[in-house]
């Protein structure tokens, strides 16, 4: 990033102040220079997951307004529609006020207020008993929080493996697909080189993931006239401004991408040099069908993968800088027949099943378009190369005078992720990027530190065996490299409540939060005692199959006891899930708390350097609420968890702020990387600095380190970068990161499925393992497509989040809900005409799982086989501070009702979680529907409807009129 003035993203000459910004002498009495704030606090936004820097202006003790922090590497001064509406979130009438203990039946919303001491005592007693007997009986799942490094560590110290955050139902396919392939991924792991790219492909985005950076980037591309191609069934948002919109059929992106690869291979338009240097394309793969090592890499005694040296005609360490590896041919090494990875790639994708003509019908994209896009990709990558005049040294010590780049970049997110074939589709996109030589090169896709990491990264998941009063050996979540790393018992049964890292979801890097309620209810694989959740609306828009999920939360056994015995829930607002808790721990708003956006967690680095950030209280809570992280730390101390207490049993950390500064995960490495060391002079690694938080506050709430020019690209093999990464603790050794086009870990699972190795899947799982643990990306139809009668359910149904909403949060926001308080089902004109539907009709949207009623809106900008709606607008009456007549509870609808949380019964009669078979990612977008016009008397209101929640004690009814800002003016004018 250039340090040259002016600051911020919107600083082109036509966005600057007037050359003379003194007020003209108009004489109309307008006060052109009112005082804006008494003080300005710089902190981090939490209106969605992007974590932009914000300046909060406080006037007369109230938040006057919030704008983007111009220095912040994430948003560079801009702010989104949600960010500016933060005031209304902060002053939401749905804010919880005090800890609550359930008094009525679960789900009624009947509570009594209790003191914090009582709340903590109840939790401590319950959790303590669990820890003394069977720690697995605590399932601790958090939602969209940004403190997973703390919460995971807490679970580990408690001794339960049953921990995860919301990643399993969000985008684990992207994370795992990327981390197992290139050691990085999109969003928090990497970004397009917005300043240099000339051709940008955007696949299925969720517009709250990296939203401001993408918007800033798109603005740059538009200003430069770079081409934007979007592949998305819906033509909204970013897709609306694409130069080329490809309205693909949902779930077929993988096929489309593999057809592009087919075309590129056929024409010889791949970057061979790049493949040899940075990938395992040359590594030899054993080809001995039936053998225990079939499909594994040929390795030397030290375990190094071997390649075939085409000059020396002998095997050679594939990573050796002097090697001249072959990419083709069949060779024999140590008596094993083997071929290079690339030979397998060429054979698979040159097959006519991946030709544009073969896939066009299925994708709903013409073969001509696929060929054109392939040609454009090749043209820009190979004919419009970039060369930056910056010398750098690669991992082997070879100096390069310039940095060469291929200016094609890609970004993908939820549309890829939320299908049961998402993992392989994501791998296919990375394969395409790598074949074009566009990963971490100028103009391409760039890693954000601490990525790239080895593919897959280091630590494995822990918690196979648990003992009372005993912490886990490590963190509950990690990356498996083969069946030995699975969390299954000797019979192959899952040891985690969500069945992550079991044969049903081997690479479940983020857990499967979406399966916890069902599994806990069914006692499968075992019953639990307490479900503790934070900030995830699992009784509504965060669960599939909502109606059934609500039933499971309230279901009782024969003895009349709840099947899920105890639920502790922490949230700042009266969401639909609060009513199902036995104990409610009220959280603060984002302006009242400490947080750390840590490199140990979900970082906010920029491709040009690592960064992290904090939140700090900028206003005091006016309610008896506490930040959940501080509560968790106190619970840890009350329970006496190792790491949370000193030797004398006293609390180690006063609160979260104290933890952020003083906690060290490994010596010298803590939650924050900036201003470490007693004098604040160190970054990354260094002693605890007691003044660290103040240093962050003084710097605007964040820390950012700028790379030197020679560290910015080719990070997977850049010595200057790799040395820095080791110093910072990002990677253990300064070794190159090799892109795993062929995934050996996956082949290990396949071999187990074929009967090799000591950890064996149950027989019923062998077929799935064989089919889906393919070491090379492939495409298969999303599961529901194969399971339902497509004649009966001819349409795909998708949801998108409006850019001005974040999940369920926006509806309590007086400003945001005005923009959207009823979601329509968007239907293509042609489709509607075929079905005899007119604009504004009310329809039943029916899937095999149920039906929901909503109102349609006809459009052209959607794949004709697809209908879609805005997500999480529909609300349950009584929640979120909304009045009974609010559109959200009457006309808005929730598509979740008709998305099954399980697959149809498989051949062996088993129903799996409705998830990707590799990672366990929730397959939200697989659902198939039909739409039927409802009867006249059924029009005008949504169904299903649910009983209204009672309001918690001392909840004020929401106001009839909001005059926010009037007080500032009155005070201002009184002073004049």
């Amino acid at each position: 990033m250039s340090k040259a003035a002016p600051r911020g993203a919107n600083s082109t000459p036509s966005q600057r102040p007037l050359a003379d910004s003194r007020a003209p002498d108009e004489g109309d009495g307008v006060e052109t220079s009112p005082s804006i704030s008494d003080r300005t606090a710089k902190t981090t936004c939490y209106m969605c997951a992007c974590r932009c820097g914000i300046d909060v202006h406080i006037k007369d003790g109230k938040v006057r307004y919030i704008n983007g922090n111009k220095d912040h590497p994430v948003n560079r001064g801009v702010i989104c529609g949600k960010g500016s509406a933060g005031i209304m979130q902060h002053y939401s009438p749905a804010r919880l006020r005090k800890p609550l203990r359930r008094t009525g039946p679960r789900g009624s919303g009947e509570f009594r207020e209790i003191e914090w001491d009582e709340a903590l005592a109840i939790a401590t007693e319950r959790l303590s008993a669990i820890r003394r007997t069977d720690p697995r009986k605590l399932a601790f799942f958090t939602g969209r929080d940004q403190s997973q490094s703390l919460t995971g560590w807490w679970a580990s110290k408690f001794g339960t493996p049953n921990f995860a955050a919301h990643g399993g139902f969000c985008s684990v396919n992207m994370a795992a697909g990327g981390l197992y392939t290139i050691g990085g991924s999109f969003w928090e792991f990497g970004e397009p080189d917005w300043d240099n790219t000339r051709y940008f492909m955007l696949f299925g985005v969720a517009e709250d993931h990296d939203s401001n950076p993408i918007k800033i980037g798109l603005g740059k591309l538009k200003a430069r006239g770079a081409k934007v191609v979007s592949i998305n069934p819906c033509r909204t948002g970013y897709n609306a401004i694409a130069d080329d919109w490809i309205g693909i059929r949902p779930g077929t992106d993988g096929l489309f991408v593999l057809a592009l690869i087919h075309e590129l291979l056929k024409a010889g338009r791949v970057d061979l040099d790049y493949l040899l240097r940075y990938t395992n394309a040359a590594v030899l793969v054993v080809q001995e069908p039936g053998a225990a090592d079939d499909g594994l890499f040929v390795r030397d005694d030290a375990g190094n993968p071997l390649a075939w040296d085409r000059v020396a005609k002998q095997p050679v360490n594939a990573a050796g800088p002097e090697a001249k590896p072959a990419l083709t041919g069949s060779h024999e090494v140590g008596g094993r027949r083997c071929v290079p990875v690339f030979q397998l790639i060429a054979e698979r994708y040159l097959d006519e099943t991946y030709s544009p003509d073969a896939v066009a019908g299925r994708c709903g994209v013409s073969a001509e378009t696929i060929r054109r896009i392939a040609a454009e990709l090749a043209h820009v990558a190979f004919e419009q190369t970039i060369e930056l005049p910056i010398a750098w040294t690669d991992w082997a010590g070879r100096r390069h005078e310039t940095i060469k780049g291929r200016p094609v970049s890609m970004h993908a997110m939820r549309g890829i992720s939320a299908h049961s074939n998402g993992f392989h589709t994501c791998r296919a996109i990375h394969l395409l990027q790598v074949l074009l030589g566009t990963v971490d090169v100028p103009g391409g896709f760039r890693f954000k530190p601490p990525y790239p990491r080895p593919a897959p990264p280091g630590p494995k998941p822990c918690g196979k065996n648990t003992q009372p009063m005993t912490p886990l050996d490590g963190m509950p979540l990690g990356f498996v490299c083969g069946p030995d790393d699975l969390l299954v018992d000797d019979d192959g049964r899952p040891t985690r409540i969500d069945k992550a890292y079991s044969w049903e979801a081997p690479l479940a890097a983020h857990g499967l939060m979406h399966s916890v309620i069902r599994n806990a209810w069914a006692g499968d694989p075992y019953p639990i005692d307490t479900l503790m959740m934070y900030m995830s609306n699992m009784a509504w828009n965060s669960s599939m199959n909502t109606v059934e999920t609500i039933r499971m939360l309230t279901d009782k056994d024969e003895a009349g006891a709840y099947k899920i015995p105890f639920i502790i829930y922490s949230d700042a607002y009266y969401s639909e899930t609060v009513a199902f808790a036995d104990l409610v721990l009220p959280d603060t708003t984002y302006l009242e708390r400490h947080d750390c956006i840590s490199l140990l967690d979900r970082p906010i680095s920029h491709a040009d350097g690592p960064g992290d950030a904090i939140r700090h209280p900028v206003v005091e809570p006016d309610r008896d609420v506490r930040p959940f992280q501080s509560v968790l730390i106190e619970l840890g101390a009350r329970l006496g968890l190792p790491g949370f207490v000193d030797e004398d049993g006293s609390a180690k950390y006063r609160d979260y702020a104290d933890y952020i500064v003083n906690h060290e995960r490994t010596p010298g490495i803590g939650p924050l990387a900036g201003w470490r060391g007693s004098d604040g002079g160190a970054i990354g690694r260094g002693d605890v600095n007691p003044n660290q938080l103040q240093r962050y506050i003084d710097n605007g709430g964040f820390w950012h380190h700028d790379f030197s020019d020679d560290q910015r690209y080719y990070k997977m093999g850049n010595r200057a970068y790799l040395d820095f990464a080791v110093e910072m603790g990002f990677i253990p050794k300064a070794e190159p990161i090799v892109f795993q086009l062929y995934s050996e870990p996956m082949q290990r699972f396949r071999l187990a499925g074929r009967g090799h190795g000591k950890v064996q899947p149950p027989d019923a799982e062998r077929g799935r393992i064989e089919a889906y643990m393919d070491p090379l990306p492939f495409w298969y139809a999303p599961f529901e497509e194969d399971a339902v009668d497509l004649e009966k359910y001819p349409l795909h149904a998708l949801t998108q989040r409006p850019m001005h909403m974040y999940h369920s949060w926006g509806s309590q926001n007086a400003w945001l809900r005005q923009i959207t308080s009823q979601n329509r089902l968007f239907v293509h004109h042609q489709t509607a005409a075929r079905l005899g539907l007119a604009d504004d009709d009310w329809v039943w949207i029916e899937s095999v799982n149920g039906r929901v009623k909503g109102q349609i809106k006809l459009i052209d900008g959607v794949n004709p086989d697809t209908v879609w709606t805005w997500n999480a607008i529909g609300k349950r009456r009584g929640s979120w501070g909304l009045k009974d007549d609010a559109a959200e509870g009457n006309r808005g609808f929730l598509l979740n009702h008709i998305i099954g949380d399980q697959t149809a019964a498989s051949a062996n009669g088993k129903r799996y979680s409705n998830s990707d078979p590799v990672t366990g990612q929730a397959a939200w977008f697989d659902v198939r529907v039909r739409i039927v016009k409802c009867a006249a008397e059924e029009a005008g209101f949504t169904e299903p409807q649910f009983e209204r929640f009672a309001l918690p004690p001392h909840f004020e009814p929401s106001p009839e009129v909001l005059r926010f800002g009037a007080a500032f003016r009155m005070k201002r004018e009184a002073a004049e």
Binding site: G8, N10, T12, S14, L18, S21, P24, E26, S33, P34, Y65, N67, V78, I79, G81, S84, A85, S211, K215, I216, K220, K222, G225, A226, R235, G237, A240, I241, K266, A267, G268, R269, L272, K324, G329, A346, L350, A374, A375, A378, M803, H804, Q812, W815, R817, Q818, S821, I859, D860, G861, L882, K883, A886, S958, E960, V961, L962, R963, F964, R969
Partner: protein, 244 residues
């Protein structure tokens, strides 16, 4: 006085790039947030949590589908006061509450004089004026007159809130009366248009049209890919490439 100034020293206004606007509503809430505590405070919201919510906003974003014989495009369209040169909203005002500033051309409402007759909103073809039923007066975009000259803000922040917020850089601000200004040149270069020119209000603000399928569209003139036809096909080609 509701007679219009014969000329204004500057013609301050906005330029909105429809080629770049993704419809994210950032400008909408940034405007609401600034102005609800600003010159025309508050921007009242009636029934904010109920079924008939209706608030005052100075800037709103519509979505359209524009379909021509060349294909369709979704267009997100921010709509706010255009600070016209011939604003009938000003001349119809019976009280002098509405006026156009002679210095910079900003159209404002002096709330203390407004009787809430609403005629100005009838006279505005663009729907730029919104009535605050709670206060009983008409309100409208001030072009952030309390930001762009505000001594209490850093100089770099003295731009309208919507321009500062816009994440895609789709909004521009400046003197459209000065042909040499950066914003005038942007309009010139991109063929910026006025809305409803036929009504003769002479809006100051301009909209930059979408570029797709125009001569300004981003294009890649790529030749079609030719399959490798030489001996050994693709794998043979690799061998030859690597033996070089």
């Amino acid at each position: 006085m509701t007679c219009l100034p014969a000329r204004t020293e500057k013609k301050l206004g906005l330029v909105i790039d429809l080629d770049t606007c993704v419809g994210c509503q950032a400008c909408v809430t940034a405007c609401k947030e600034w102005n609800t505590g600003g010159h025309m405070a508050p921007l009242t919201d009636i029934d904010p949590y109920g079924g008939h919510v209706d608030g005052v906003w100075f800037n709103r974003v519509h979505s359209y589908e524009h379909t021509t014989e060349l294909g369709g495009r979704t267009v997100n369209f921010p709509r706010s006061c255009l600070h016209c040169e011939q604003p009938a909203c000003v001349t119809v005002c019976p009280t002098g509450a509405s006026y156009k500033r002679a210095s910079d051309g900003i159209v404002l409402v002096d709330e203390d004089k407004c009787i809430g007759c609403k005629l100005c909103s009838w006279a505005c073809p663009y729907g730029a004026r919104e009535f605050d039923t709670d206060v009983g007066v008409m309100k409208k975009c001030t072009l952030c007159v309390d930001r762009i000259y505000n001594d209490n803000l850093a100089v770099e922040d003295r731009v309208p809130a919507c321009v500062a917020a816009c994440p895609t850089s789709a909004r521009h601000f400046g003197d459209l009366g000065d042909p040499a200004s950066a914003i005038s040149q942007l309009v010139e270069e991109r063929g910026g248009v006025a809305l409803m020119p036929e009504l003769g209000y002479k809006p100051t603000n301009r909209y930059l049209p979408p570029r797709a399928r125009s001569e300004r569209a981003a294009k890649v003139d790529a030749p079609a890919l030719e399959p490798i036809r030489a001996e050994g096909g693709f794998l043979g080609w690799i061998d030859r490439m690597l033996s070089n």
